[in-house]
């Protein structure tokens, strides 16, 4: 009596399998086609990354970091990290990993922001999408590898697909939240002046939601990087593959080098995207932090004028 009765079985696994086989049998061609295009995109991005001489890349990333973060020391630290990745012998692998991250994030943003906007506009859409996102984020990430493998075979394309599925929720969520949190007073005033839906979106909602959206992109990027490593289990090369090899060979040294290289990439990407997110926020709030004196002077001037 204590055991769950054997005869009650809901064969969801069978249904999923059946559905999956149906898709493969009937839409296999479509996925082959998507896969080959995806592969071309990935290869173009990777070739572009590898084409850049390593020292140019380090200097360029350093300058970008300096611009974004505004601190020479932080920028130098980032340049050194990138140099170390090369010095460990993982430059090509890092560029491979980076290309998958870049393509995944680009797709996630291109899909995620419009979806976030739809969620913000419509409560029914939000009520459907939110539980789906919850499920996507709770599902163990390895699970995504199976359909990816079946649809696209082995290699970097299924890894990219799995990465997009895993990494897209934050950008959707934070776009929705950012737009919903725009002050109703500002929305009402804009409407009163004749703003239609698109004016509201591009003049008011997206600019004011920008800090939130940029945080979403930052989180999506970090999750993509985490997933790319797992994607090596279905044949994606890059840093993840090195970690996997090190595990198989119980090679501590190699595992450490590859692992620390991933950490370095993560730090570099996080610091730079984060700094861009913050920079935009500061721009909007400009003047709020100005000292009291100037503020009083300002109102004084207006008072005198009247």
């Amino acid at each position: 009596m204590r055991d769950f009765p054997e005869w009650i079985r809901i064969p969801v696994a069978d249904w999923v399998d059946t559905g999956m086989y149906w898709i493969l049998a009937n839409l296999g061609g479509v996925f082959d086609w998507i896969g080959s295009i995806g592969l071309q995109v990935l290869l173009v991005v990777e070739r572009a990354l590898v084409f850049v001489p390593w020292w140019v890349a380090i200097i360029a990333i350093g300058l970008l970091a300096r611009r974004a973060i505004g601190s020479t020391r932080a920028a130098a630290a980032i340049a050194v990290m990138l140099f170390l990745v090369g010095a460990f012998g993982y430059w090509a692998e890092a560029m491979n990993t980076l290309s998958v991250v870049i393509v995944s994030v680009a797709f996630s943003v291109a899909l995620g922001i419009p979806l976030g906007i739809l969620m913000a506009w419509s409560n029914p859409v939000r009520n459907i999408v939110t539980p789906v996102l919850d499920a996507m984020q709770t599902m163990p990430s390895f699970v995504y590898l199976i359909p990816a493998l079946m649809l696209f075979g082995l290699g970097r394309v299924p890894a990219t697909f799995a990465t997009i599925v895993y990494a897209i929720p934050p950008v959707i969520r934070l776009t929705n939240v950012g737009i919903r949190e725009v002050s109703p007073a500002v929305i009402e005033a804009s409407k009163a002046f004749g703003a239609d839906r698109w004016n509201l979106l591009f003049d008011v909602q997206l600019p004011l939601a920008r800090p939130s959206i940029l945080v979403g992109i930052n989180q999506t990027t970090m999750m993509a990087l985490a997933m790319v490593v797992i994607g090596s289990m279905i044949g994606n090369r890059g840093l993840g593959m090195e970690v996997l090899l090190a595990i198989n060979r119980v090679n501590i040294g190699q595992g450490f080098e590859a692992g620390i290289s991933i950490v370095f990439l993560a730090i570099i990407i996080d610091r730079i995207t984060n700094a861009f997110a913050k920079a935009k926020t500061v721009e909007v709030a400009m003047g709020e932090g100005d000292d009291e004196e100037e503020h009083e002077e300002a109102s004084g001037a207006a008072a005198r004028h009247g």
């Binding site: 005033a189 600019p207 109102s299 009247g306």
Partner: protein, 417 residues
């Protein structure tokens, strides 16, 4: 007394129907009900049920109940009422930020209720402007871009809209502030930007929803004065919503008093004061006995001289000689009120070579909050040899009340009545 004049007062808006070319805003039998199936509230069964009972029985809230009024071209029409009276809802129905449940609305010769979505957006772009209590500025736009936003939505070219926005900013006294962001401006200045944004469109009708209610008393009064000047110059048709009787009396050509979603009286200010339509209006205006209506905030002025604590006695003496003052209020760096320094005290401190004006050296004249009615100030003003300091809840000095200002306020009001 009031009954004899009721007819005359109420016939006001109706008699103006005839000369419709002159009427810019006309509301007729406008209802607004919030809740499920609002239409059923208009049926005879519910029509006259009091607000509270209705909410209990149907879950619906009536914001507007059969509201009618007409605003003539060039008129500054004030809608006054306490919070919950429906005044803010009413002004929003004029451009359908709130959809009326029933009734007819004509604004600038357009049937607002009949408009479809496109027409409504075009109408908002072309015909009306609105100023909001909480400004509603775009924080990521500069002052100039904010002032030009209405024109941008209308589709004007950048040069044209910026030229007109600069002109509008000049009108409201913000020339030179074009490239600042709203966050770096004080509340009063932000509302000037809101006003400039409204004026830049050169609208047929200007709607103002408690535009000055969020401002400090001194700034509020100043903005009211400027609006009066501006109106004399531009002659706009303005619908102005307020909860402040004094503001209504000061600004309005005519005033509609609203209560529980109904308009209970429409008349010019004199008429409202002389012949309040019912007990409700009377309750408003009874307090209009000037000594009970005017507060310290309405009569206070800037002090002619103000010393800061950190200023030494020598500076203080020079300033006092320059202004020919025998005494001055002293504040600290944050403008918190500390007390009164007289010439004698300053001379003594100078002799003792002190560097700052310490609180123990000062006389403490009791300050009053800005909402003190002036009746309660009589004693202090007549007995003391100093003016009465007015401070806010943080103890900051807002202004001073001089006996002359009180007398002025009382005498003007008597002349009006």
């Amino acid at each position: 007394m009031s009954d004899s004049n009721t007819d005359k007062v109420e016939s006001g808006p109706e008699s103006e129907d005839a000369c419709s070319p002159q009427v810019m805003v006309q509301a007729e039998g406008v209802w607004k009900v919030f809740g499920r199936n609002p239409e059923r509230i208009l049926t005879p069964r519910y029509r006259d049920v009091p607000k509270k009972d209705l909410q209990r029985r149907t879950g619906c809230v009536i914001a507007l109940r059969d509201v009618s009024f007409a605003v003539k071209s060039g008129e500054l029409f004030v809608i006054m009422g306490l919070s919950g009276s429906g005044k803010s809802t009413m002004i929003r129905t004029l451009l359908r930020l709130v959809e009326p449940t029933a009734g007819a609305l004509r604004v600038a010769d357009k049937d607002v209720v009949a408009m479809d979505h496109e027409e409504l957006i075009q109408f908002r772009r072309d015909k009306v402007s609105m100023v909001f209590q909480n400004y509603g500025l775009l924080p990521h736009y500069t002052v100039l871009e904010n002032a030009a936003y209405g024109l941008k939505l209308r589709g004007n070219h950048k040069e044209e809209r910026e030229a007109r926005a600069i002109e509008a900013l000049k009108t409201v006294g913000l020339a030179g502030w074009e490239n600042y962001y709203p966050a770096s401006l004080s509340g009063g200045m932000q509302q000037r930007v809101g006003l400039a944004r409204a004026l830049a469109k050169d609208p047929a009708i200007l709607l103002m929803d408690e535009p000055f209610s969020g401002l400090d008393p001194l700034i509020r009064r100043q903005m009211q004065d400027e609006l009066v000047d501006l109106q004399a110059e531009l002659g706009k048709t303005i619908v102005f919503v307020t909860h402040d009787l004094h503001e209504a009396l000061k600004l309005g050509d005519r005033i509609a008093i609203m209560r529980d979603g109904r308009v209970v009286q429409v008349a010019d200010p004199e008429e409202i004061l002389n012949n309040p339509h019912d007990e409700y209006v009377k309750a408003f205006t009874r307090d209009a006995s000037p000594a009970r209506v005017f507060t310290a905030a309405t009569v206070m002025e800037d002090p002619e001289i103000l010393l800061y604590r950190r200023q030494g006695p020598l500076t203080a003496r020079t300033m006092m000689e320059h202004q020919r003052c025998e005494w001055s209020f002293v504040v600290d760096r944050k403008k918190r009120y500390l007390g009164v320094a007289t010439r004698d005290v300053i001379e003594r401190l100078a002799k003792e070579k002190k560097h700052i004006l310490n609180e123990e050296d000062l006389l403490y004249v009791q300050p009053v909050p800005p909402d003190t009615v002036i009746e309660d100030l009589f004693g202090q003003v007549s007995s003391g040899s100093y003016h009465v300091p007015v401070t806010d809840e943080h103890g900051r000095l807002l202004g001073v009340v001089r006996p002359r200002a009180i007398l002025n306020a009382l005498s003007t009001e008597d002349a009006d009545a």
